[in-house]
């Protein structure tokens, strides 16, 4: 069954599948951890119960998303070795320490304080609890810093020499960490994570506003989420544009694929809005294009020349159709986010943020848009890096472990089955939590009313207290 598919293709499919699934969870939890910290800070400052209720509401969702992020992340840290051993041997001296720093500065911080954040409110008091929430939120950001530095180094490698064993040996760590594409990728990805969370929070708020526009919790979360979308969406489009210009400088072939430019355009390149890229023929069929607009965007000059993929050896072309389409999906969703933000500003001006059902329906439909955009952007940048793992230096085909196709096929199948069972169940539980309207006296993780046993288990303090009073039954 798998005879005609190479072990390399299967290994790539497995990595793409597992990393895409994994990426969904941090994309959500980076923003959600910050949101929880903001909610708790607002509660501590104002003592307004609605913030505490919202905090507890989203904390339960965070706990689920975080657990799924952890278990899918452990898989990633081993897959470099199991499936990409040659890459690990050669690039390990650079990628390895960056990931080790991620573990030491971020993972332990998150995991260490997560228990206190989830279950410790009654044990440590609100102030220390807030520090724990803050530690988790900062941890998610530090994690993004290191892993995106490592990823960016694979895109724009520098600061190394090649040693006798054929390894990339670090020569200048600052140059490695702050490689040319890193600042752009970090800003663009973290903004993407914030937008993703804001869209989810906004959709949940909108859903409950559609049912009951007086719900205080729903109003607060919708207000906060739409505020963030309105501010962050335009910044994100600007940041994305800067990131694109940086890519043009360092990885021109990727931009050629994103734009669908097979041919060179010596006097102004058209912006292809839609079309069907044909990698074999080296052309985009049935294209709808705006003349010279691509040169305007990329070079800020209508008549600036832009080279096409015809100037790049064919064996160095990325898979153009995937990059072309995923880029358009990301940009299209970005424009819709901009539209949602503008719509919400209009609603504020008209003082109808909480009773304009059309806005709420729009926000509801946009709930998953952040995930799709983040994944599409990720596909654009990673598939656009092909056919290399370390751009221009180490080919993907020369990076894989010496595995046979049946072994990889079996593991890929197992991953697909397990991930669909586990993560669709988890997503279902998250949706179930979201379907409950936030309400006063929102139960936390340690005090959910239909789970009295957990109270005993997770916060033994009350249990000990009762026992001390002789109230043992």
């Amino acid at each position: 069954m798998f005879d005609d598919i190479s072990a390399l293709t299967l290994a790539r499919a497995q990595f793409a599948f597992t990393v895409s699934f994994h990426f969904i969870f941090p994309a959500f939890s980076i923003g959600l951890a910050s949101y929880l910290a903001v909610l708790e800070a607002l509660w501590l400052r104002t003592k307004n119960e609605v913030y505490l209720n919202l905090f507890k509401y989203w904390l339960k969702i965070f706990a689920l998303a975080f657990a799924m992020g952890v278990v899918s992340g452990i898989t990633m840290s081993y897959q470099f070795g199991t499936n990409w051993s040659v890459f690990s041997d050669k690039a390990g001296p650079i990628i390895g320490p960056l990931m080790a720093y991620e573990v030491m500065t971020a993972f332990f911080l998150e995991a260490g304080f997560l228990g206190v954040m989830l279950f410790g409110m009654n044990r440590v008091g609100p102030k220390l609890h807030f520090m724990a929430t803050l530690a988790v939120a900062v941890g998610t950001f530090i994690s993004a810093f290191w892993i995106l530095s490592a990823n960016s180094w694979m895109q724009t490698p520098q600061g190394f020499t090649m040693n006798a064993a054929g390894q990339f040996a670090p020569a200048d760590w600052l140059a490695i960490i702050f490689n040319p594409s890193f600042p752009y990728r970090l800003v663009h990805t973290v903004l993407g994570a914030y937008l993703t969370t804001a869209l989810v929070v906004g959709a949940v708020g909108a859903w409950h506003l559609l049912k009951d526009k007086a719900n205080a919790g729903a109003r607060v979360m919708f207000n906060m989420a739409m505020g963030l979308v309105a501010v962050a969406a335009p910044i994100q489009i600007f940041a994305g544009d800067m990131h694109g210009l940086n890519t043009l400088e360092h990885q021109p072939a990727k931009v050629m694929a994103m734009e669908g430019h097979f041919q060179s355009h010596p006097d102004g390149a058209p912006l292809i809005l839609f079309g069907i890229p044909d990698q074999k023929a080296g052309e985009v069929r049935a294209q709808i294009a705006i003349p010279k607009a691509s040169s305007l965007i990329l070079k800020h000059d209508l008549n600036a020349p832009l080279a096409g993929l015809e100037t790049v050896p064919r064996e160095d072309w990325p898979p153009v159709p995937i990059v072309f389409w995923s880029f358009r999906i990301m940009v299209g969703l970005g424009m819709l986010m901009l539209g949602l933000g503008a719509f919400s500003i209009l609603a504020r001006v008209r003082r109808s943020l909480y009773d304009w059902p059309l806005l709420h329906r729009f926000a509801l439909v946009m709930g998953p848009a952040g995930f799709v955009a983040v994944l599409a952007g990720w596909v654009t940048t990673e598939v656009g890096r092909q056919p290399f793992t370390v751009y221009g230096l180490l080919r993907t085909a020369h990076s894989a472990a010496p595995l046979d196709a049946p072994a990889v096929a079996a593991s890929l199948l197992a991953f697909v089955i397990v991930y669909f069972v586990v993560f669709s169940a988890g997503t279902g539980y998250i949706l179930k939590l979201m379907s409950h309207a936030p309400h006063p006296g929102e139960p936390g993780l340690e005090e959910t009313p239909d789970q009295p046993i957990r109270t005993a288990g997770i916060t033994p303090a009350p249990g000990i207290h009762h026992a001390a009073e002789g109230d043992a039954s």
Binding site: V71, S85, P93, I95, G96, V103, Y429, A456
Partner: protein, 335 residues
């Protein structure tokens, strides 16, 4: 073999520390998963699970540090060992997914709690078995050619690797039982105390069997243990195991609550030292030494600066998290 404390040696100790920290911490919470079916559904199971719910996440992070650290400090070893042990490692990862999400999912879905309880136990048993098999397969040797694994896809499956797999399942269950002696009271504690006795005897017996077989797997192992005058030092390890065994059973019978767990950790520590004596200075036994596998000095120094500062801080706040959730998992107020 240079006795000087060079960078690869320092990193071998740091990685060994991370792996041992993982075995110690995730060992007892995987052990609780293994013992899970022996508790009655309802209160007993809930408190067993809740005794580790706030800390399992941090415990598992040591596994990521072990893997990530190996890639960073000994990339060649990482690149050889992981493909060689492809099947057990993939199985371990999948098993850990099931048991990790079960912590959350069983509370979110009472209708399917029985399913997630099975996932919790099954994930714990299979994950542990796979870790033990991985260890055995590494110890018995890996075929290497150039810079790559060159053996077959079932090389890892041998009677010896199955023995180490089963031993680890029993050993983790032993750690879990002694942890629960510390964290529970009443009927549950009486139950786990009995279990701790039987599992302790079984674990120590299996340590004996594995230790007896290991020196005969590879020439170097035998040399490392029995060459004169090293044997004067190495002989202390089995002697200390004997002392630990006596102390453990004494503390269990006298009704101590903390000592059984600490002594169980001590026995694991001694086994780990024994493992180190067997393997050193090889990281892929019989094929690649730590000096051959080490990353360039610029990698090792860069990480060492971070590790020296950060690992003590990590240990401090991990300790704090354990301290916050110290004491018994309460029950009395909620009958």
């Amino acid at each position: 073999m240079s006795p000087a404390l060079d960078l690869p040696t320092v990193w071998a100790f740091i990685i060994a520390f991370a792996v041992f920290a993982y075995v110690v911490m995730d060992g007892f919470d995987l052990g609780i998963g293994i013992l899970f079916p022996t508790f009655k559904p309802g209160r007993e199971r809930d408190s067993a699970m809740n005794s580790v719910a706030p800390v399992w996440d941090g415990n598992e992070t040591w596994l990521v540090l072990g893997g990530g650290g190996l890639m960073a400090a000994f990339p060649l070893a990482y690149a050889i060992i992981l493909p060689a042990l492809y099947a057990p490692i993939i199985i371990m990862l999948l098993a850990l997914i099931f048991r990790g999400v079960a912590f959350e999912f069983r509370w979110r879905d009472p209708a399917h709690r029985a399913f997630w309880d099975v996932a919790f136990t099954g994930g714990s048993i299979i994950g542990t078995l796979a870790q033990g098999v991985t260890l055995g397969a590494l110890l018995q040797g890996i075929t290497v050619e150039g810079r790559q694994y060159a053996g077959g896809w079932w090389d890892w499956l041998t009677p010896f690797s199955l023995l180490t797999g089963v031993s680890l399942v029993v050993g983790y269950a032993f750690l879990g039982a002694t942890w629960l002696v510390m964290k529970t009271e009443g009927d549950v504690q009486a139950h786990v105390r009995r279990m701790a006795g039987w599992l302790g005897a079984a674990t120590i017996g299996l340590i004996g069997v594995v230790s007896a077989v290991t020196p005969f797997l590879k020439g170097a192992y035998y040399e490392n243990w029995f060459a004169w005058p090293n044997v004067l030092l190495t002989a202390q390890v089995p002697l200390l195991v004997l002392v630990g065994t006596v102390l453990f059973f004494r503390s269990l019978m006298r009704g101590h609550e903390y000592w059984p767990f600490l002594l169980a950790l001590g026995l694991f520590g001694l086994s780990f030292v024994g493992l180190g004596i067997s393997m050193f200075p090889y990281v892929v036994p019989g094929a690649v030494t730590i000096w051959q596998a080490a990353a360039p000095d610029s990698s090792l120094i860069f990480m060492l600066v971070g590790a020296v500062v950060l690992v003590p801080i990590i240990l401090a706040y991990t300790g704090y998290a354990y301290w916050v959730f110290r004491g018994k998992v309460g029950q009395e107020g909620y009958h």
